[in-house]
Amino acid sequence: MIDKNEFQNKIKKAEKTAYKAIFFSFLASVLLLFAAYDPTFSIFGNKETALTYSDTVENKNEDKIENGVHIRTGLVDAEGLITVVNNCTNCHSAKLVIQNRMNTERWNTTIKWMQETQNLWDLGENQEVIVNYLVTNYPPIAKGRRLNLTDINWYTLKK
């Protein structure tokens, strides 16, 4: 009988420990989630201070590169990247640069057009760096008179 009681007590103890463990791991995961969504715990502090803080964090990471891509602009990390970022993404998005495929001559013409009509500054020696970056990393693709259809997401059409 004593053995049985002891056994039951042990079970109860184990149960309690398990409940505690569940409770604490739940608490920990809530805290973790919170930290992930609001790392500065700004909800508890002054909003303005929190904003300034995250601004500095952003500034530190503004030229972060991941998998060979400059995160802020989407431009490929290659020789001349920062020169392109600094001169070509002030007025318009880098998306406009990436989607346009031109050779050296046409980029130079485009730069001249931007200088004449869009207030682009004199690029000096940087012009060659920029154009080289563009023609190397974003060369024109031959399309002919019509391309094949590509990137088709096949799906079953219900009647």
């Binding site: 007025c91 318009h92 998005s93 998306k95 406009l96 989607q99 346009n100 495929r101 031109m102 046409r106 485009t110 869009q118 207030n119 024109p140 693709i141 031959a142 399309k143 002919g144 008179r145 019509r146 391309l147 259809l149 088709i152 997401n153 096949w154 799906y155 079953t156 059409l157 009647k159």
Partner: protein
Amino acid sequence: MKRRSFVKKTVLSSFAAIIGTELIFGANMMEGYTPLALQEPNPFKLFSKNKEMLVLNDKPWNIEAQAHLLDDKVTPNSSMFIRNNGKIPEEINPETWTLTIDGEAVKNKKTYTLADLKSTFKQHTYQLTLECGGNGRSEFDPPAKGNQWTIGAVHCASWTGIRLRDILEDAGIKSNAVYIGYHAVDAHLSGDPSKEPISRGCPMSKALQDETILAFQMNGEAIPLAHGYPLRLIAGGWPASVSGKWLNRISIRDKVHDGTKMMGTAYRVPKNPVAPGEKVKDEDMGIIESMPVKSLITYPKTGATLKENQPLEIRGHAWAGELEVEKMEYSIDFGATWTTCLVEKPANRLAWQHFSASINFPKKGYYEIWAKAIDSNNIAQPMLLPGWNPKGYLNNACHRIAIKVV
């Protein structure tokens, strides 16, 4: 910070228009409170667009639809492409907004408030097709400079406003009038206040058409901010850049308007055909007027897989600039044979027309459905790219979708 002060200077009534939905508790909103919508970094939420819209550019904002998003007969805001040359204006007060009619060929320079426009002139509603002159640019080889639109820079919404003719005649048109040119409040990307991002127009003959209107409503509601709130010129069937947004001035000119993007190569194509990549002098370029005949298959979405013997219902829209679409055909064998589709009459002149067909595929395999519209002058869409031009305008090559029968 500018965004925050924006709301303080804007009346709530205009707010619903800007975010595209109604603010139910608008009246109870605290003073100084900035609704989240305007700080929204997500363009789909910011402009109330479908998540499948494609963002080509975020500075300035340029967003296009995909064919299957344009299935509605009247395009809802959620599927309408956005094309901007400059920055979208942020501080608009409809109470103090005015439109001035001036220029060398105006009899009396006149300024109207929005309330004047709405109360003085008769209002009209038309469904009007607006297509970006550069829609389809991405297919040109050698590539043309600019936003690389695929097929989604077209829409046909319902617009309500007053006829441009009525207000021009109210101010008085001199006999030497040639062209109108619009001016608006959007800011140049460089931030230079002396520069206009775009200031285009059209010849008097287009300006005086019944369907050329100054709109203050789109699909029965105030025009969303990105589409020109509070006042937009709508000139259906012409490059959508003629339909200027956020207008505060229209000049009646005694010559062809010479505003930004009227000159050089902007919205112009070679007067005579050129070889791909050929250099064209500015003086050999002519202003685009009516857009060419074109069509889109909006159902099904490309990539549909069907069972053998399962018939396929297709549908879509066709339009032809100033003209009407007379005939619509489809091919499932790359143009070897063509079958006529049913094509409806337009809701009004310059509205796109709906077509439909039921297709039976002869055997299993990979197919493409190609759609071809033919206009009232018997001009058809080409299957290949039309004539190359330096800026990549007017690509009206047949639209096609991929189908598999298994």
